[in-house]
């Protein structure tokens, strides 16, 4: 259930946060990539459209919801980065 905190490692994996390339260490979460990229927001809430960034980094607050490789409403703090991963803004509620 818990992943051990990685030692400081070089940023070797390239991912895209809202289309902008950013290098992050292997094993980092997609939410960490969002923070490293300095994005202004990674989701807009489904009711009021308020901008949000990752907050708890441990799967409880849901403020890191993002579109990851096209899948909507993914908790970015709960997935590890992969080379070429596209992490984009979740705009409002998911459409089904």
């Amino acid at each position: 259930m818990y992943a051990t905190r990685p030692e400081a490692r070089p940023a070797t994996v390239e991912v895209f946060v809202d289309g902008v390339a950013v290098m992050v260490p292997a094993g980092a979460s997609a939410a960490a990539a969002v923070l490293l990229a300095g994005a202004a927001a990674i989701r807009e809430t489904s009711i009021s459209g308020a901008p949000r960034l990752p907050y708890c980094m441990m799967g409880v607050c849901f403020d890191c919801l993002a579109e990851v490789d096209g899948a909507p409403n993914v908790q970015a703090c709960m997935v590890a980065v992969a080379p070429g991963m596209r992490i984009s803004r979740q705009r409002g509620a998911r459409h089904v």
Binding site: S46, I47, F62, N73, G92, A93, R94, H95, V96
Partner: protein
């Protein structure tokens, strides 16, 4: 103990039943105190499904069917008065609702049940329903899966946000001068006709009226006031999905979309006593039925789940009583406190304020159980 604090009515229990009555009494101008146990109590009002539902209530008990219909009719007024009193939007949406049937047998059983309800309704408040076959139903709910055979529909049903409702009732009550005392489990009391004393939270409260609306707690409290409230816990579990854009035009008995966009999946029933642990087998069954009903649900994330205890009277019908031994003491118990909030706030509370339950509530007295046991 401190000096007694005097009120015109004491309400025991701050769940949906006690709060709706308390708001109704405060609106009638009574000075009230609402005593509520703490977070350790079993509290259905914080764990329910949020349906305002008339179509399956009162089979074999026409008085209960009628009372539920009165409540469904009173609901728009309740929503409006809460909006006026405290600016609350409790999210009432009452477009009618459906009970989905997943086999020919379920459809046939449902049709029998609806026909019986219509027969028992009589002419004063006819029960209008339709059994709708799948092709037509798909026009109303395009996301239906191929396993759905059809549904029963009545135009009375709907849903609300039950937590917003509870919050709005509390705010309206205190806004009208009512006093809410949390962490106040009633441990001791003295009863005399129209003269009650209740000890809770190290304080003493006195009033000529007391309303017992303590949910499962009523079973132990009622005898102190010459009343009885034979209720038992009945467990229900609920699953919650991630929020999605508005998708359904109406609620169903087992799947509904909240005003914030989450889907609630539920409708389980288990006789397990005072147990609120969640059972994977039950959760799997809820999920399976939801996916058979609406296959797209399989793609959604489940983000929360819980279990809570319904307050189930012995025969499933609500209990309302005034004590014969200690007039002024009332009980109110039901397993549909969301649905019945309209009746509790707008019909029952004025009767309690006037000191007399209307004759239409006679069949709800717990004395019905004595008769049955003696027979």
């Amino acid at each position: 103990m401190s000096a007694p604090e005097s009120f015109q009515a004491i309400i025991v229990g701050g769940g949906l039943v006690g709060s709706a009555i308390a708001w109704g009494l405060a609106r009638e101008g009574l000075r009230c105190v609402l005593l509520d146990e703490g977070d350790i109590a079993f509290r259905a009002s914080r764990g329910n499904f949020g349906l305002v539902w008339a179509q399956s209530k009162g089979q074999g008990a026409p008085h209960y069917q009628r009372w539920t219909r009165y409540s469904a009719n009173a609901w728009p007024e309740l929503a409006r008065e809460l909006a006026d009193a405290v600016g609350a939007d409790v999210g009432l949406h009452q477009p009618g609702g459906v009970h989905l049937c997943l086999s020919d047998k379920e459809m046939a059983d449902r049709a029998d049940r609806m026909a019986q309800m219509a027969r028992e309704a009589g002419n004063s408040l006819p029960f209008h329903y339709r059994m709708i076959e799948a092709p037509e139903l798909r026009g109303m709910l395009p996301q239906l899966g191929p396993s759905v055979v059809g549904a029963s529909f009545t135009p009375y049903d709907g849903h609300v946000d039950p937590l917003r409702l509870l919050h709005a009732l509390h705010r309206a009550f205190t806004g009208a001068g009512g006093v809410y005392v949390p962490n106040a489990k009633v441990e001791r009391s003295d009863a005399a006709p129209r003269d009650f004393r209740v000890m809770a939270a190290g304080r003493v409260f006195e009033a000529p009226r007391v309303v017992l609306a303590a949910g499962l707690g009523n079973a132990a409290l009622a005898p102190e006031f010459g009343l009885s409230a034979p209720v038992r816990p009945q467990q229900g579990q609920v699953l919650v999905t991630e929020r999605v854009a508005p998708i359904f035009t109406m609620p169903t008995t087992s799947v509904r979309q909240t005003m914030q966009g989450s889907l609630l999946l539920g409708d389980s029933v288990a006789e397990v006593g005072y147990d609120i642990s969640q059972k994977p087998a039950v959760m799997a069954e809820i999920a399976k039925r939801a996916v058979l009903s609406f296959p797209f649900i399989a793609r959604l994330n489940i983000v929360r789940a819980w279990s809570a205890l319904r307050i189930m009277p012995k025969d499933g019908v609500a209990i309302y009583d005034q004590s014969e031994r200690f007039p002024g003491a009332f009980t109110a118990n039901c397993h549909s406190g969301v649905t019945l909030a309209g009746a509790h706030a707008r019909l029952l509370a004025p009767m309690i304020a006037a000191g007399q339950l209307d004759g239409m509530l006679d069949p709800f007295s717990a004395r019905r159980f004595d008769v049955r046991d003696a027979a």
